[in-house]
C-alpha cells in the first residue's frame, strides 16, 4: 500500500536538467557574456602581458627578451613625460565633477524653457570628441584664435600658442576635454537631483538649514550614487584620453602632450611604430594604473551591496 503511494507521488523520472533547472539556468544565461568577456577582454590582457616580454615588429619572428622592455621604459624620457601628463589628466579631469554639480544645481529649477537650456548645456557631450578637438584647436590658434586675442587684451601671451607651447599644451587639451566631461557629470547630477527626497529637504528647511549647509549636509549625501558614477566615468575618461590628443596635437610639440595611451599607439601601431613588445609594455603599465582604480571601484560596489543586504 505504502509503496504504491510513494511511486505515484514521484511520477515518471525527470531529466537531470529538469531536476536542476533552477540552479543551472543562471549559469546558462551567463555563458555567452562570460565567453565574449573572456575572448575579448581577459585573453587579450594576458596576451599583452605576453607580448610585452618579446621584441617583435608585428611582422616577423618575435624574440623573447624577458623584462628588457620594462627596463627600457625606466630610462625613456618620452615615457616619463607621458606618465606625468597622465597624472595631470587624472587630477585636473576631476574638476568636471564639481563643475557638473554646480551647473546641474543651477539648472534644477522650473522656469520657462529650462529643457532647452538643459539640452544646450548637454550639447558638448553629444558631439564627437573629434569636433570638440577641432573647435578648441581653432579657439587656441596662435594667429586668429579667440583665446589668444582675449588673453592678449589683458597683456598675456603664450609663446607658440596654447597648443604649440610645451608647458601649456597638456592643460589646453585637458580644458578641451573638460567641456564635454562637465556636461556628462551635469546630466548624471540632474537625474540624481530628481531622486532627492523633498520631505528631507522640507524637514531640513524647518530646522533652519539653507545655502551651503543645506547643500553639504542634505543634498550632496543624497547624491552619493551619482557622485560615484561621475567619479568612475571621469577617471576612466582621463586615462583613455586619446582622441583629443590625436586630433589636436598628435602628441606634439615634440612629444610634450603625449599620454600613455597615445605613446603606446605611436610605438606600436602608428605610421612609424614597429615595436609591438615595447607598446605592449606601455599598455601593461597603463593597465596596472587602471587596475588600482578598478579594484577600488569593485571594492566599494561590493561594500555597498553588502550594506544593502
Amino acid at each position: 500500500m505504502t509503496n504504491t503511494t510513494v511511486s505515484d507521488f514521484e511520477g515518471p523520472k525527470r531529466s537531470w536538467y529538469k531536476r536542476n533547472e533552477i540552479a543551472v539556468t543562471p549559469y546558462l544565461f551567463l555563458i555567452p557574456g562570460v565567453f565574449f568577456f573572456a575572448v575579448y577582454v581577459i585573453f587579450p590582457v594576458f596576451q599583452s602581458f605576453n607580448i610585452s616580454l618579446y621584441k617583435w615588429d608585428g611582422l616577423g619572428e618575435a624574440e623573447y627578451v624577458g623584462l628588457t622592455n620594462y627596463q627600457k621604459l625606466l630610462d625613456d624620457r618620452a615615457f616619463e613625460v607621458s606618465l606625468w601628463n597622465n597624472l595631470k589628466w587624472l587630477v585636473l579631469y576631476l574638476l568636471a565633477i564639481p563643475a557638473g554639480l554646480m551647473i546641474s544645481l543651477f539648472l534644477n529649477q522650473k522656469v520657462v524653457g529650462i529643457r532647452l537650456y538643459k539640452s544646450l548645456f548637454f550639447f558638448p557631450f553629444v558631439i564627437s570628441q573629434i569636433v570638440v578637438g577641432l573647435v578648441f584647436s581653432w579657439f587656441y590658434d596662435p594667429t586668429f584664435g579667440i583665446f589668444t586675442k582675449v588673453i592678449g587684451w589683458v597683456g598675456l601671451e603664450i609663446k607658440g600658442g596654447v597648443l604649440g607651447n610645451p608647458t601649456a599644451v597638456t592643460y589646453g587639451i585637458i580644458a578641451a576635454g573638460l567641456w564635454p566631461q562637465t556636461a556628462y557629470c551635469m546630466i548624471l547630477y540632474l537625474t540624481g537631483l530628481n531622486a532627492v527626497d523633498p520631505e528631507q529637504v522640507e524637514a531640513a528647511r524647518l530646522d533652519g538649514a539653507k545655502g551651503w549647509k543645506m547643500l553639504w549636509y542634505v543634498i550632496i549625501p543624497q547624491l552619493k550614487p551619482a557622485t560615484f558614477i561621475a567619479f568612475v566615468v571621469t577617471i576612466v575618461g582621463a586615462l583613455r584620453s586619446f582622441d583629443l590628443i590625436s586630433i589636436m596635437t598628435r602628441g606634439g610639440p615634440f612629444g610634450q602632450s603625449r599620454v600613455l595611451s597615445y605613446y603606446m599607439f605611436e610605438k606600436a601601431l602608428s605610421e612609424y611604430g614597429f615595436r609591438m613588445g615595447y607598446g605592449a609594455a606601455i599598455a601593461v603599465v597603463l593597465f596596472l594604473i587602471m587596475l588600482v582604480f578598478i579594484a577600488y571601484f569593485l571594492w566599494s560596489m561590493y561594500q555597498e551591496e553588502k550594506g544593502a543586504r
Binding site: G60, R77, T143, G160, G252, F254, Y272
Partner: protein, 421 residues
C-alpha cells in the same frame, strides 16, 4: 656621332614598344588581379583607375578588382592585409620604408623582372628598390624637392636666385628687413623639418655622409652633424622661419606664402598644384635648387619614389608581374605623370616629361645637377622608428635650439637600440 646615338636610341624605343605589344598579344591574361592602392587623392585616384582601365582593355579576359584606401590609413592597414589577406599588387614606398616588409618576407622578390632592359630604363631608382642585391618592386613616379619662392617678391627687392649659402642668407636678411619671413613651414606633422635636415646635411656634409648617418653608421653627436645644426641655427636665430610653425600642417603653412607674409617654402613638387589653386601663377611662383653650403661638395637631392609591389601572399603573381611591367613602360609613365594627371616626374628614362615649368626644371635638376646622389627623404631613408625620434628632435631644435646637446644625446641613445638588429 650624335645622330648615330639618336637613331639607335629611337630604334631601341621602337623595338621596346613592339616587343611589349607583341608580348601582350602572346600572353592574353585571364583570371583575377586584385590591386590595393593608396592613391586616394583625387588626381592620383583618377590615374590609378585610368591605368586599371587601360590594362583591362589590353586583357579583356582579366577580372581586375581595384580597392583604393585612404593614403594615411593605408600606412597602418598594409601590415594587416599583407599578412592576412594579401592582394596581388600593392602600393608602397622605396628604400628603408619597404625594409620591414622585405625582411618579414612579405614582398615578393621581383629581380627577374629587373634583368636586362628594365634595369637600364629605370636605372635612376634601381638603388632605392634594391635590398641585399635584389629588387622588391617597381617605381611609378617620383618628384623633386626644392625651394619654391615668390618670384614677384624677389623681383620687388631686386634679388636673384641664390646659389651659395651666403647669398641665401643675404636674401633672407633683405626679406626680414622688409617684414617678410624667409621661409614658411608647418612642423605639426614633423616630416617637413626632416626635409630641412636632409638638405642642410647633404649640403654641409655631402650625400655620402647623409646616407651613412641615416643608415646608422655615423654618430649624431659628431663634428659634422653639429656643423649642419649650426648652419640651421643661423637661420633660426635670424628669425627666418614663420612663428608658431609647430601648430601648422604643411597645407596650413601655405597661406603665409600665398599672402606674401613669407617668401619661400622648401617643399616637394606636389605643392605646386596647391600653390596654383591658391592663386600663384607662373609669374609669381618659381623654383630654385637648394644652394651650395660647403663649396665643392657634389649636390645630393631628395626625390621620393612611390612604388608598386607584389605581396608574397599574392594569388595571381603572373598577372601581377604583367601589370607591373605595364606600369613601368615608357608610354604609361609619360601619360600618368603629365600635368593633367600626377604632375610629377616619370621614372622611366625613355618617357618624356610633360611641358611644365616645374617638371622641366625638376627633371633637369635631378638628371644633371644631382651628382652627389638621390635620396628618398628622411623618413624613408632612416628606419621608421629612428625617423620618428629624429624628426621630433628637429622640431624641438627649431623651437629651442639651445637643447641641441640633449637632442643629439637622445638620438644616439635611440640609434643604439634601433640599429642593433
Amino acid at each position: 656621332m650624335h645622330s648615330i646615338i639618336k637613331t639607335s636610341f629611337a630604334a631601341i624605343v621602337a623595338a621596346g614598344i613592339t616587343a611589349t605589344s607583341a608580348q601582350a598579344d602572346a600572353h592574353a591574361l585571364s583570371g583575377d588581379l586584385v590591386i590595393f592602392s593608396d592613391m586616394s587623392n583625387p588626381a592620383p585616384r583618377a590615374v590609378m583607375e585610368g591605368m586599371v582601365e587601360r590594362f583591362g582593355e589590353m586583357h579583356p579576359e582579366l577580372n581586375i578588382e581595384l580597392t583604393v584606401i585612404d593614403r594615411e590609413a593605408y600606412k597602418t592597414q598594409i601590415r594587416n592585409f599583407l599578412t592576412a589577406d594579401a592582394p596581388d599588387v600593392a602600393n608602397w614606398y622605396a628604400a628603408n620604408r619597404m625594409l620591414p616588409y622585405v625582411e618579414a618576407g612579405l614582398f615578393e622578390d621581383v629581380s627577374d623582372m629587373w634583368e636586362g632592359q628594365m634595369s637600364e630604363e629605370l636605372a635612376s631608382t634601381k638603388g632605392a628598390m634594391t635590398i641585399d642585391g635584389k629588387q622588391y618592386g617597381v617605381p611609378y613616379t617620383y618628384y623633386q624637392w626644392g625651394v619654391y619662392y615668390r618670384k614677384d617678391l624677389m623681383e620687388q627687392f631686386g634679388l636673384s636666385e641664390p646659389t651659395t649659402w651666403e647669398e641665401e642668407k643675404a636674401n633672407c636678411q633683405t626679406y626680414l628687413d622688409n617684414g617678410i619671413k624667409c621661409y614658411t613651414i608647418g612642423t605639426k606633422f614633423l616630416w617637413t623639418a626632416g626635409g630641412w635636415f636632409d638638405y642642410l646635411n647633404m649640403r654641409t656634409n655631402g650625400y655620402d655622409y647623409h646616407a651613412a648617418l641615416t643608415a646608422g653608421q655615423e654618430k649624431w653627436d659628431s663634428e659634422k652633424t653639429r656643423a649642419t645644426f649650426a648652419n640651421w641655427r643661423e637661420l633660426i636665430d635670424m628669425g627666418a622661419f614663420i612663428d608658431n610653425h609647430q601648430t601648422y600642417s604643411w597645407q596650413e603653412a601655405m597661406p603665409f606664402m600665398v599672402n606674401g607674409e613669407a617668401a619661400s617654402y622648401l617643399m616637394g613638387n606636389f605643392s605646386v598644384a596647391a600653390f596654383r589653386e591658391g592663386g600663384l601663377d607662373d609669374s609669381k611662383l618659381d623654383f630654385y635648387q637648394f644652394p651650395e653650403i660647403t663649396a665643392g661638395i657634389p649636390k645630393g637631392e631628395d626625390a621620393p619614389t612611390d612604388t608598386f609591389h607584389i605581396p608574397s601572399g599574392a594569388k595571381n603573381k603572373e598577372n601581377a608581374k604583367a601589370f607591373l611591367e605595364f606600369v613601368v613602360s615608357a608610354d604609361n609613365q609619360t601619360l600618368i605623370n603629365n600635368g593633367e594627371n600626377l604632375g610629377q616626374l616619370p621614372v622611366n628614362a625613355l618617357s618624356s616629361v610633360d611641358d611644365d615649368k616645374f617638371l622641366n626644371e625638376g627633371f633637369a635638376m635631378l638628371s644633371n645637377d644631382a651628382p652627389g646622389g638621390i635620396a628618398q627623404f628622411f623618413d624613408r631613408d632612416a628606419p621608421a622608428e629612428m625617423a620618428a625620434v629624429a624628426m621630433e628632435g628637429f622640431q624641438e631644435f627649431m623651437l629651442f635650439p639651445d637643447n641641441l646637446d640633449d637632442i643629439l644625446a637622445r638620438l644616439d641613445a635611440a640609434a643604439v637600440d634601433i640599429y642593433a638588429e
